[in-house]
């Protein structure tokens, strides 16, 4: 059935189209000219507007901030995170736990692939330090570490950065604030199905 359908649909399309597509002019990706501190500040501001909890800190302060934030919580960690970050945490590495087992964790800690200032978005390409997709979905809190050099200004810049991961067939998860719905009388409620809170640690350049 499907192969007949395939032939029929393709035939109908070819009858309907010229087959001589106009060349598509793709405008060059604008590269940002703004100072990186400004872009970092915009990312922090916009992410916070989406009710992400944003903290800026130096790299050296990560372990202490994590210890304070995640005290008493069972934390899931994907492979590829610096050992120092885990030192003061009750952390369990991802070793392929079942979905049911994942529900026993209160928080997950990851890095990201790129962050987009113009929209307050972090993107996970599920490479090292980011884990499989369900890790950042089932636990109720997601803590994500974003380095200053990972923040780009615009969506097209972000998309360009992700070309390699997509070509390699890796999935992507774009996250802008915690899960939210506005389905009931347009009033915004956080945390319908995904994590109810998103903490972003923005790591500022050291001196």
């Amino acid at each position: 059935m499907s192969s007949e359908a395939r032939l029929e649909i393709l035939t109908r399309i070819n009858r309907a189209t010229s087959g001589h597509p106009p060349a598509l002019e793709r405008p060059p990706i604008p590269t940002s000219t703004r100072p990186s501190a400004e872009i970092l500040a915009q990312f922090a501001e916009y992410a916070a507007e989406y009710r992400a909890h944003v903290q800026q800190m130096a790299q050296a302060d990560i372990p202490e901030a994590l210890a304070k934030l995640l005290a008493g919580k069972r934390v899931l960690v994907p492979e590829g995170l610096p050992a120092a970050w885990r030192a003061a945490l009750d952390s369990t590495p991802d070793n392929g736990q079942s979905h049911a087992e994942l529900t026993h964790f209160q928080a997950v800690l990851t890095t990201c692939a790129v962050a987009i200032a113009e929209t307050g978005t972090v993107v996970l390409d599920h490479g090292s330090g980011q884990g499989r997709r369900t890790l950042t979905l089932i636990p109720d809190q997601h803590v994500c570490v974003v380095f200053w050099h990972q923040i780009v200004e615009s969506v097209p810049e972000g998309v360009a950065t992700l070309q390699e991961a997509v070509t390699a067939g890796r999935p992507l998860t774009w996250i802008s604030g915690p899960s939210a719905t506005s389905d009931i009388e347009l009033s915004r409620v956080e945390g319908v199905h995904g994590p109810r809170s998103l903490n972003l640690f923005i790591i500022t350049p050291g001196d």
Binding site: M1, S2, S3, A5, I9, L10, R12, I13, N14, A16, T17, G19, P21, P22, L24, E25, P27, I29, Y46, G96, H99, A100, I116, T119, G120, T121, H126, R132, R133, T134, L137, P156, V159, Q163, V166, T167, G169, R170, P171, L172, T173, W174, I175, S176, G177, P178, S179, A180, T181, S182, D183, I184, E185, L186, S187, V189, G191, V192, H193, G194
Partner: protein, 474 residues
């Protein structure tokens, strides 16, 4: 049941007369559309190059449509290369059968779904039910609509016609939830608890697709709640139904759409969650993926040189929120899963202009053009509405309308004829005027007054007034 299909059960004017009686719905809609409208203007104003983005979005879509077969074949090859399966469906029945067979092959009778208009278009839920398969909608609004055995009324916020008190009552009755208040937070929590169990236990999920990138085989779902991510990653099997027009050539082409779509639809800089996946990823997410490419009338739209640009639509719903007709009549009046201005052109075209009820939709417009201004991919909806009206109205040899128009032309051609006609009309209208308006014209002219009031001719025309003034000055 949220499955609605695209065949209206009655002509738009009849359906609209019914929905206009619902004051509650009109209040909800006015609130929703005005709120989103204002927010959207702000979101769009933040991007100084918004107009360039619209042009770019439209251009990419046009290039895709001009060479659709090539892009679909590339997509098919890419998805297969990455371990996915691709199927083709010419119409709703074929797509329903494909999905039902795939579900049945896994021996399950329960599936979870993420909101998808294309599966609503093919009335998938009802078809699955007939095969003994129950599909649970997991988007909060879609769940509300499904539990209420109602139909979606908006592309983006399908339950916008319901208010919190109604939803609380519904959840109490259908989910047995103990709800102390009707606070949206409490209601959303009830849905979370109810659905979490389903997410963790269900083996097969069904989704739509917002975009698919041909050269990398990457499919994309844009959402807010996380139910999309749940459906796309927790089950073992994922079946995605996608209209053939949703393909994009290459990865960088996604960039303008990830800027255009969120700002146009929810008026946000970005929606909370977007998932991209390519085929299957070992050890992460479903290990079996099926992509169903759906025609269902789209190749007919493609064959029409004027109507074709309808297929640029990215289902953002911006045109609904600015439409004065939609704002008053609501989505149900359109009788299709595609309401509002885009529905008024898409629905009759998908049905090859063969459905009399759908053919009334191109008249469901004031032609104010607000939808064209709002459309992120520049679909000239007013132009297509007029074009479709021309296609639908049969070009008969002299009929009452053409004779009337010829007579009118003869009268308007000479001022003395025109003035005479006005005087005649003024004298003749007497018995028709009630409470200061002509509410029912006799005979065939009654079509005009069936949905509008006609102001009566004034006691004095402008020409008469002008003449009098001139005489007074002399």
């Amino acid at each position: 049941m949220s499955a609605g299909g695209i065949r209206p059960s009655q002509p738009f004017p009849d359906a609209a007369r019914e929905t206009l009686q619902d004051a509650q719905m009109r209040r909800n809609l006015r609130h929703a559309t005005t709120t989103i409208r204002e927010k959207r203007l702000q979101a769009v104003a933040e991007l100084p190059y918004w107009e360039d983005l619209r042009t770019q979005g439209a251009a990419i879509k046009d290039v895709v449509l001009d060479n659709l077969a090539e892009h679909l074949l590339t997509l098919e090859a890419s998805v297969k290369r990455l371990g996915g399966h691709v199927h083709w469906a010419q119409n709703a029945e074929e797509a329903q059968r494909l999905v039902a067979d795939l579900v049945a092959a896994h021996g399950v009778s329960e599936v979870i779904k993420v909101k998808s208009i294309s599966t609503d278009e093919i009335e998938l839920n009802a078809a699955l039910e007939a095969r003994g398969i129950h599909a649970t909608e997991t988007d909060l609004a879609e769940l509300i609509v499904q539990l209420a055995e109602d139909r979606p009324s908006h592309i983006l916020v399908p339950a916008i016609h319901k208010n919190r008190a109604e939803i609380r009552e519904l959840f109490r009755r259908k989910l047995g939830a103990q709800l102390l208040t009707d606070d949206p937070k409490v209601l959303a929590e009830a849905a979370r608890v109810y659905l979490r169990e389903k997410f963790l236990a269900t083996k097969v999920a069904i989704s739509g697709a917002n975009f698919a990138i041909a050269d990398t085989g990457t499919v994309c779902i844009v959402e807010s709640e996380g139910n999309g991510r749940m459906c796309l990653t927790l089950p073992e099997v994922l079946i995605s139904v996608m209209g053939i027009e949703k393909v994009l050539p290459t990865w960088p082409d996604i960039a303008p759409f990830m800027q255009l779509l969120p700002r146009s639809s929810t008026a946000e800089r970005m929606n909370p969650y977007t998932s991209f996946w390519s085929g299957v990823t070992p050890g992460d997410g479903p290990q079996e993926f099926h992509l169903i490419l759906l025609d269902n009338g789209r190749t007919d739209v493609l064959a029409d040189a004027v109507g074709r640009e309808t297929l640029r639509c990215i289902r953002c719903s911006a045109c609904l929120n600015v439409c004065p007709v939609y704002e008053r009549t609501g989505g149900h009046a359109y009788g299709s899963v595609y309401p509002g201005p885009i529905g008024a052109i898409l629905t009759p075209q998908l049905l090859q202009l063969d459905d009399a009820n759908a053919n009334s939709l191109p008249w469901a417009s004031s032609l104010c053009g607000a939808c064209y201004d709002a459309c992120p991919v520049k679909i000239n909806i007013p132009e297509i509405l007029i074009y479709l009206r021309g296609q639908i109205t049969p070009h008969k040899t002299p009929n009452v309308e053409s004779i009337a128009m010829k007579t009118a032309a003869w009268i308007f051609n000479e001022s003395y004829r025109f003035e005479g006609a006005i005087k005649l009309a003024r004298t003749g209208q007497g018995p028709l005027v009630q409470h200061g308006a002509v509410r029912a014209l006799p005979g065939m002219l009654g079509g005009w007054t069936s949905s509008r009031n006609l102001p009566p001719f004034p006691p004095q025309s402008f020409r008469e007034l002008w003449r009098k003034e001139e005489q007074r000055e002399q």
